[in-house]
Homo-oligomer: 382 residues x 2
């Protein structure tokens, strides 16, 4: 049995303490920067636009000469220049009259509307001035941001490096996915799920291979990964006789949490070795998923300077979700037309329950369940 179960909130707090936003940075071309986070303010090296620019097809004119012009008494203008959208406004002119508001009568341009200065003109620096902050440190780059950077001639940006997340798989019973498991064996599949989520959440996953359930093997694997920002160990985390990972953490550094009040997901552990966070994830895939979503996701987001923008939908429960008081329950639900249908209440090993689910609902630890018809927030599986 676990000596002392921790609340999920406590485990998360301790984990986040060990996961400060990464401070390393790298310079990358803007074409590759979508989704990355700026490590410094970006200043514009030039004005945008860099010249007064016609915003319409029409004629460049002096706005003063259109004073009082109207449909019934057009201004008669003799000095004008035909311009196309995007063209530089010729020297000495300060407005563009649209084709619809002008009429060429011989050499004379009749203008039927009064123009204010810089009418239909994009002025120098109207979008950005040289020296202006284009985008701030901590900004996450989206496609239009890349276009803006490109517009002022910026090729490279300094971004924070992605947090390195090492993934260690333990388990004597694990065989490669390509094998047919004999009785007592199981295909190693959790790394596929963990790897994909780490990448999706903004981390840089590193698979550290499958190691046997041996203290020394685990110790060595952790040592090899101490250059990472977060170390994940899958399996060997419970209180069985082969569950060495938590004990190894105790030996190598500190074991802060062993067992959390999360269902499924109880055999989750957290420690630190040389100041680096080490999370032990349950071997049962659904329990691992709960632990990933409730603990690993916020940790990676914090390391990566990303906001915790999990997709959520409001819904109404089609039927009761029972739960164990004192535990946060990770209940899989399918979602249709605003109705959340619980898929499977228990079964940490039942991965097919996740395939049929669109997301999960959390039952708080102080409740004995959620009632039919209750309004809930569904976290959508990414």
């Amino acid at each position: 049995m676990f000596k002392k179960l921790s609340a999920v909130g406590y485990a998360l707090e301790r984990l986040l303490d060990l996961c400060p936003p990464v401070n390393e940075r790298e310079k990358i071309p803007i074409e590759e920067a979508c989704g990355r986070v700026l490590a410094s303010d970006v200043l514009s090296p030039e004005d945008l636009p860099s010249f007064n620019r016609a915003a319409m097809d029409g004629y460049a004119v002096r706005s003063g000469e259109t004073r009082g012009a109207s449909q019934s008494s057009p201004a008669q203008i003799t000095e004008y220049v035909r311009v196309r959208t995007g063209a530089a406004l010729p020297e000495g002119f300060d407005a563009v009259v649209m084709l619809e508001d002008s009429f060429l009568r011989g050499d004379v341009l009749e203008v039927t509307a009064e123009l204010t200065p810089y009418r239909n003109v994009s002025r120098i620096g109207e979008d950005l001035r040289a020296g202006d902050v284009v985008l701030c440190r901590e900004h996450r780059l989206r496609p239009p941001d890349l276009a803006l950077l490109g517009a002022v001639g910026i090729d490279d940006v300094e971004v924070f490096t992605r947090p390195r997340v090492s993934i260690i798989m333990t388990g004597d019973e694990l065989v490669p996915r390509s094998s047919v498991p004999a009785p007592g064996e199981a295909r190693e599949i959790n790394s596929l799920m963990i790897y994909s989520y780490v990448e999706l959440w903004g981390g840089e996953p590193h698979l550290s291979g499958v190691i046997p359930d041996e203290r020394d093997a685990i110790k060595h694997a952790i040592k090899r990964c101490l250059g990472s920002d977060l170390i994940l160990i899958s399996g060997g985390t419970s209180v069985g006789e082969r569950d060495y990972a938590p004990g190894v953490l105790e030996d190598m550094g500190e074991l802060m949490v062993h067992g959390v009040r999360l269902s499924p997901g109880r055999p989750t552990a957290l420690g630190s070795v040389s100041g680096k966070p080490v999370m032990c994830l349950p071997g049962y895939p659904v329990a691992a998923l709960a632990s990933l979503y409730l603990l690993v996701r916020p940790a990676i987001k914090r390391l990566a300077h990303l906001s915790d923008d999990a997709p959520r939908r409001d819904a109404r429960l089609s039927r009761k979700i029972p739960s164990r008081p004192g535990y946060i329950t990770f209940a899989r639900v399918s979602l249709r037309n605003g109705i959340a249908e619980p898929v499977m209440i228990s079964g940490a090993g039942i991965l097919s329950s996740v395939a049929r689910a669109d997301g999960f609902v959390l039952v708080p630890e102080d409740l004995e369940g959620l009632d039919e018809g209750e309004q809930v927030e569904v976290h959508i599986f990414e």
Copy 2:
């Protein structure tokens, strides 16, 4: 002037008619299948688990022999086998007693709890039976789905191909991003934004280069792209004298829409050539962005068999957004603590307004604006 402006809804409907979900498929390894959509049902080739499996560390026993067992009168069992979590249940046994509920007294196992058959056992096929549908056609693969496929020994899946989206840039004034634009020139930046969004939304973007504002050049470029599922032409879409793209569509096929009641975004056009949809996007970046979000995004999602799951947040407007009745207004807003602050109401060229925005609010065409304090739905920029 545009001959006839179309409603955004009309343009979208015509566009979607031309964008049926793609039917081509490809076989890919599951490691590369995250986010892809299954083109056929996947059946399980085997039972999962493939043997009766101990779900706990403990002793395999015959449940019948524990009948009536309790703390005060434990069952005395002489035939049992020590098992670890994940081990195969030995032949002839049907339950596992947890270590906590058992005590070894010499060779006799005392069991202090009554066990039902298959207690603490994951039965053969409990998760999936051979022949069961693991995941259905049209399912979008998420990390736990990959693990489930791996668990039953599936290496490859058949998915729909990503829709091919060709991107043609037109504009005599455009210079490469690496150049310093002379007066009258502009750096070509829209392709960067369009490319990134096409990729983000599930399409496979192909840049078809920058071509001059010439009918024949546009015609040839479109011809070269007719193998695509969607063709995007950026620039040359308005009613100026160099705006050839809509006329070319009329010549080559059908021009269904030229000018939409979208602000910014009016100079958007839609046609079809040899049954393929061709969208003309405004050259002004913010107008292009509006057109991308309101038209191109749903088109790509439909082609890609993906649901239109745009991230949204409810918010309250910090101040009025004026708008032009008859037009849908694409208003950029920043978002903080549930308050949406309009960033910039007009200015199709002002890309920095997007950098400062977190998303956009749509003002419906039948309104003259939205009032301060009004509840709105903010579409978050991806």
